[in-house]
């Protein structure tokens, strides 16, 4: 195995040298010849330098220029859009390699990935891009990471995915700065970074460096049937107090006001509770929670938010049996009209399309806030999801970067919106695409927020707090734990993690 790797590296280096770009070869040498952690941190630095240096190389030697010209022609023939010459090949890719991409293929399928692969082959004639859609990223890729032969680019999602932050802590992820600063594929004059929706990639920034990229743009909120809502003549509640009043009305009508994805309490813990905290106390209490500060959970705004969430259970506003349902089961019960509201991200519409009654008209509303709250009452959790990264020890990390550049291009986002009815975190990515009413309502929600984005990191940074937090929240929403018990349990676990010397800590200030 070691011999095999060495062989392929040598071969690859030789090819890189032949293609003429010494700077590119240098960066490749650093990127794929590394086995020690120290050397691997050097790789990103090289990679960052590559675009600049290789531009110089392109001028100095004839070969790259010739190949770039050839690429431009081919691209004009095959691609459904044009690419400016200076945006064609920022990473100076060797073309006679096979790019190894392994991705989770879930609700979005793998069509958009294959499409990206095809475009990448058209942009770089000679290149072969292998796109593999799989179900179990963890069990299938973990051994490859340990063995030091990971793929060139990975889409890490789904059940049994890999611990992204764990990989990061082990030095397995390539710093994506070079990609962020590279020219955009199809938005002339902009860098790749400038074409992404602001705030959508913040959670992938560690110690100032972009370490992974989110492929999907998700807006979280509270879904309901517009038809049922109008028929009953309700007004959408602005504050949580109004919500509770409305719930009482709905309950009197014989329908359960709320349901949620009972077997997955994180829908509430990650996507409802933080918004309540934010609208009540602003950003500060959330930052304290993420930073594992002492008594962060007993902040008055947090206590209030937990109690307000608990009120849904306490007052009997949650559909009976919710705790025993999976996400699809709860969502189906909601579609059946057994419950009025359900919290979810904007994938809901696509996920439930085969079971949605024709006249249902699902739309999303903001999680209600507080009349006297400190946070922006238009605030929303509109973030990126479905992380993609480039393994630092892959055979062709530069090709991995290019894959992400193509995948998150404007045209790819448009393809995604049209074919998968979902949104990529690319500015104007849905331009000209036919967007469903539900999806449009979620995008409207995000634009109303106007940058007031609710952020939460503790679950991503500390997997234990995520897992146990789910257990505790499940208990809170079934009355097993009272709000005070929940707060105490979260705090003591946070304290424990803060003290654990084996856990790498992260902090944020904004």
């Amino acid at each position: 195995m070691a011999r095999n790797d060495l062989l392929s590296r040598r071969k690859f280096l030789k090819l890189a040298m032949l293609s003429g770009g010494t700077a590119a070869a240098g960066s490749l040498l650093a990127a794929c010849g590394t086995s020690t952690p120290a050397a691997s941190t050097a790789a990103p630095a090289q990679a960052t330098a590559a675009p600049v240096a290789s531009a110089a190389a392109a001028e100095a030697t004839a070969a790259p220029v010739a190949s770039a010209a050839a690429t431009a022609e081919a691209a004009a023939g095959g691609l459904p859009f044009t690419v400016a010459a200076d945006a064609l090949d920022p990473f100076k890719l060797a073309t006679d390699v096979e790019v190894d991409g392994v991705f989770f293929a879930g609700g979005f399928g793998d069509g958009y990935l294959k499409n990206t692969g095809t475009w990448m082959e058209q942009i770089h004639p000679g290149l072969k891009v292998k796109v593999q859609g799989i179900q179990q990223v963890g069990p299938q890729l973990q051994p490859r990471f340990v063995a030091g032969n990971p793929p060139d680019v990975v889409g890490n999602s789904g059940a049994n995915n890999l611990d992204t932050v764990g990989l990061l802590n082990e030095g397995q992820l390539l710093d994506l700065s070079a990609l962020m600063d590279a020219p955009s594929l199809d938005t002339p004059g902009k860098t790749f970074k400038e074409t992404l929706i602001p705030g959508s990639q913040d959670d992938g920034v560690y110690e100032g460096k972009q370490m992974y990229l989110n492929m999907a743009y998700t807006v979280f909120g509270l879904w309901y049937s517009k038809t049922a809502f109008e028929k009953a003549g309700y007004t959408y509640p602005k504050t949580w107090a109004e919500m509770l009043t409305l719930c009482e009305d709905i309950k009197k009508g014989g329908v359960a006001p709320w349901t949620y994805q009972g077997k997955y309490p994180y829908y509430l813990r990650e996507w409802v509770l933080p918004t309540l905290i934010y609208k009540n106390g602003g950003n500060a209490p959330l930052i304290k929670i993420d930073n594992l500060e002492a008594s962060a959970w007993s902040d008055p705004s947090v206590v209030q938010a937990v109690e307000d969430l608990y009120a849904l259970w306490d007052k009997g506003y949650i559909l009976e049996g919710t705790a025993g349902m999976t996400h699809t089961e709860a969502q189906t019960a909601w579609l059946q009209g057994k419950a009025f509201f359900i919290p979810s991200g904007n994938w809901l519409e696509n996920e439930m399309k085969t079971t949605t009654p024709a006249d249902f008209t699902m739309v999303i509303g903001a999680i209600p806030g507080y009349a006297d709250g400190k946070g922006d009452q238009n605030g929303v959790q509109a973030v990126g999801g479905e992380p993609f990264f480039v393994p630092s020890k892959g055979a062709h990390p530069q090709h991995g970067l290019e894959f992400l550049r193509v995948m998150l291009s404007k045209n790819s986002a448009k393809w995604f919106a049209e074919n998968v009815s979902s949104v990529m975190p690319v500015l104007n990515g849905t331009e000209g695409a036919n967007i469903s009413a539900g999806m449009q309502s979620s995008l409207d929600l995000a634009s109303t927020a106007n940058g007031a984005i609710v952020r939460l990191n503790y679950g991503t940074w500390y997997r234990r707090l995520y897992d146990e937090g789910d257990v505790y929240l499940g208990e809170l929403m079934t009355g097993v734990k009272k709000p005070a018990d929940f707060i105490q349990a979260m705090q003591s676990l946070a304290d424990e993690i803060a003290k654990d010397p084996d856990t790498k800590k992260y902090t944020r200030s904004a």
Partner: protein, 319 residues
Amino acid sequence: MSQRRFCGILNTAISLPKAPRGGRMNQGKRGLIVSFLAVPLLLYGVFVLVPYIAAMVFAFTKWRGLSANISFNGINNFIKLSNDSNFLNALSHNGVALIVLPVCIVGLALFFAFLFTQGIRFARFFRITFFFPQVMSTVVVAVLWSFIFHPTIGLINGTATALGISGLKGFPWLGNASTVFPAVLAVTIWQAVGFYMVMFVAGMQNIPTSYYEAAKIDGATPWVLFWQITVPLLWDTLRTAIIFLAAGAMDLFALVNVMTNGSGGPSRGADVLSTYMYQTAFTRSEFGYASAMGLVLLLIVLGISLVSMRLTARDSLEF
């Protein structure tokens, strides 16, 4: 393999015979032993033992299973384990299964097998039918049963409501900490009874009919026939089943994992060692710590096998 779902160890012969049989058979036995053992042991050593020994070494490391970066951690994992309430919680569920599964499954299987060998009507139909759940994959079983346990549209609550029991309306069997594990156990029993029934039927058919005939001439009732003839003569097979199920109770990974969607259930109400271990190793990337749990599990299972062997070690009747 998947027999581990509900069992792990089968063995009537866990206690090896004290002495070889057949004194005159020794000519050429050395060659036979070597040639018969070489290939299987090679396969077993390379594909099973080497990985397992490696995993046991990991039990003493901080390895996260995400890179080749391994540092030793002494016995710290084991110290941490002794204070881990989730570990003890999971272990206690295995303990419950250890009692419930052998009693229920062996009891039912024995009952059915006895009936089927006593010339009951439609025995063949029942015998074939009861084995059906065995041939279904765990994914299928889990999907079926999650519909049966479903709070609102589920079969159980639907039947209860139809019978006028309104207390169960919307009751979340898999969403309540005190019912989720019994639900898992019920499915395990549902699935495994047929397997043991077939095993017992096979054993019972080897019991000479003359024994029953003689007893019946003496006026023995079916009850007496069962306890005086069937059980003693089936002892080897019963032991097999009990030891098998005891080890199965220490596993339970597949069903718990699928029925609780990987979480171990509300309040970890159905978490067992294997699911907690899986979560620790793969979602929390604490591979070293999970391996330590594996090692402890290994010791416990070995202990249980030895104990259940001792407890059932009454001389099986030769006939």
